[in-house]
């Protein structure tokens, strides 16, 4: 019985890593631009479609992943420069709606160009491995390893590079950073690039569990938003940990009460709103990211 839980937790960690990665992208953009990026999931969906057709061209899988990440980075940059930047100092709610519109554009284009029926998407690694009593798909292990690496490098970027420290500065005080001559727009563009690249990677890693269709990233985005809120919306670390927690809890709950799997995030969000408005790692701290 205990072994089952170990496996559930391990699998939950892999799902949670996916939520965490997406939530990190959402928090990065929320912190530097003060908006909820509703297009986060669908950007990943669109990139996954591109990857699907690159794979169909017989390109090697790792190369396709790399290309998808690059495509995501370019898309993120374009979106920041041409859609977000012109509006950003006007209205915050307008920015949210721009990302809503963008999500619809991705969805409509994907359904139109690639046709909307579900397609099977092969994982990079197919087998499974047994670690002690735990049996885990190799792809799940890959997800956990990759997201650990990504998290570590994001942390290094945010705390050790000029761009990252600049991003943290912008998150606290956009105007202050601008007056000092920090290239706020360039940094914002880089953040969007990182977020969309993350979203593309997430899409490719997780799509084998479902099927490729224009809506497949929506539930993941919902969970990622819940994780971001649970993590306090202001810390990348919080988002990552909350994502992992959410993945594990959800997996265990779904095992016992399968009908609660989707509603669980609502319960969680309402609890956060009522009792932990600053998230799990709360305290109205000064430190962000």
């Amino acid at each position: 019985m205990f072994d089952i839980y170990l496996t559930l937790i391990a699998r939950g960690l892999s799902t949670g890593a996916i939520y965490g990665l997406t939530a990190m992208g959402i928090v990065l953009i929320f912190q530097t631009n003060n908006i909820l990026n509703w297009a986060q999931g669908n950007a990943g969906m669109f990139i996954t479609y591109l990857a699907f057709f690159l794979l169909a061209l017989q390109l090697p899988y790792p190369l396709v992943i790399l290309l998808a990440i690059i495509a995501g980075a370019i898309m993120g940059g374009l979106v920041e420069k041409y859609l977000i930047r012109p509006v950003r100092e006007k209205s915050r709610i307008g920015l949210l709606m721009i990302t809503l519109g963008l999500a619809m554009v991705f969805e409509g284009l994907a359904a139109f160009i690639f046709r909307p029926f579900p397609r099977n998407f092969e994982p990079l690694l197919k087998g499974s491995i047994a670690i002690g009593p735990i049996t885990l798909g190799q792809q799940d292990v890959l997800v956990i390893v990759l997201s650990t690496l990504i998290f570590a490098s994001l942390f290094l970027i945010l705390y050790r590079t000029k761009i990252g420290i600049g991003a943290r500065g912008i998150a606290e005080d956009w105007y202050g950073a601008r007056v000092l001559g920090v290239p706020v727009f360039t940094i914002s563009l880089i953040i969007w690039s990182i977020s969309f690249a993350l979203s593309g990677l997430v899409g490719i890693l997780i799509v084998p569990r479902f099927a490729l269709e224009p809506h497949f990233m929506l539930p993941i985005q919902v969970k990622a938003f819940s994780a971001a809120v649970l993590g306090g919306m202001n810390s990348v670390l919080g988002a990552a940990v909350a994502g992992l927690l959410l993945g594990v809890m959800e997996n265990i709950i779904a095992f016992h009460f399968p009908y609660l799997q989707e509603s669980f995030s609502l319960v969680l969000v309402v609890i956060v709103l009522l009792f932990l408005p600053t998230g799990l790692f709360g305290k109205k701290t000064q430190r962000r990211f």
């Binding site: 519109g101 938003f225 809120v229």
Partner: protein
């Protein structure tokens, strides 16, 4: 007579004769009925987003709650239609309070997240329950029956919906022009200033949100008895987003914007044809972006500008 009143009267006359003209094509009238139902929800969103400056990503869920409540009360418990619809509105309002109260006392984005969570969860819960018909959906919902008069044909439904639509639109119009409406707009435009003016921000936001969700509940109940079929898939997160898009494209903070947006949403795919249907979504997304950037009042503003241009030339 003022020109705007003249136009309103003309439009009213047109909407009254339209079904008679179209009486040979009930399917078109059915479309118009759907448009009026959606327009109600969109008007609710307009009140929330356009006048109070808050985003809901769960209005489709409110429609579902309203629709299922009224349908189940009539079908399972033999409720009178008037009571069933009032119950539906009240229950949706209560759900709005449940989500809106905790999130609106916090900062801006929490309502979006909370309604998103509600939107996902409610579709899921409906799917799992047996009283709602689960994944099979709820079929054969009886048509509206008010004081033993049954609204069976599309034309009958049309006139009833038209009356309800007009009443709701007039109520919303009066609300936004009232003292509360001015308070709401003050909050939307400058929260800090509104606070120093002594406006109880959280109170007005919650009230706006509850009213907005009640309108969506009404719209959902009417949907149930007009379409006579409910399925959770039709009220998912995507439809909430689409409702938002209709409202934005039609024109935020304009009374007729929601109707315009919905008209456009329903007819656009029919105009560009089935093969291009999916492009309609992308096109709408682009319209949303363009509206935010260039036409904050959406289609209403485009029409207004065209009208002004025409005046210049005439």
């Amino acid at each position: 007579m003022k020109k705007s009143t003249l136009i309103s009267l003309l439009l009213l006359a047109l909407s009254l004769v339209l079904p008679i003209v179209l009486s040979e094509r009930p399917s078109l009238i059915a479309y118009l009925n759907l448009i009026m139902i959606y327009a109600l929800s969109a008007q609710g969103l307009n009140l929330l987003l356009g006048y109070a400056g808050q985003v809901s990503l769960g209005h489709a869920a409110f429609m579902a709650i309203g629709g299922y409540t009224s349908a189940i009360l009539v079908m399972q418990f033999g409720f009178n239609n008037i009571f069933s619809i009032i119950s539906a509105i009240l229950l949706t309002g209560f759900c709005g309070l449940f989500v809106g109260f905790p999130s609106l006392r916090l900062s801006g984005f929490y309502l979006a997240i909370a309604t998103m969570a509600l939107g996902t969860a409610s579709a899921d819960i409906i799917k799992r329950l047996s009283i709602t018909g689960g994944d099979q959906g709820l079929r054969n919902i009886p048509p509206l029956n008010i004081f033993s008069y049954e609204f069976v044909s599309e034309i009958q439904k049309y006139y009833l919906l038209l009356i309800i639509l007009l009443i709701v639109f007039i109520l919303v119009k009066n609300l936004v022009n009232s003292r509360s409406g001015r308070a709401l707009r003050a909050i939307r435009d400058a929260e800090l200033t509104a606070e120093t003016m002594g406006i109880n921000i959280a109170y007005y936001k919650v009230v706006a949100f509850v009213i907005s969700s009640m309108i969506a509940g009404l719209s959902g109940a009417l949907y149930a008895h007009t379409i006579s079929y409910l399925h959770p898939v039709n009220f998912g997160l995507s439809f909430s987003i689409e409702l938002l898009a209709m409202t934005i494209v039609g024109g935020l903070a304009t009374i007729w914007g929601p109707l315009l947006g919905v008209l456009f949403w329903v007819f656009l795919p029919r105009i560009i044809g089935a093969r291009m249907e999916f492009l309609a979504t992308a096109f709408f997304g682009i319209m949303v972006i363009l509206s935010i950037r260039f036409f904050p009042r959406g289609l209403s503003e485009i029409i207004f500008r065209l009208e002004r241009k025409l005046k210049l030339y005439s």
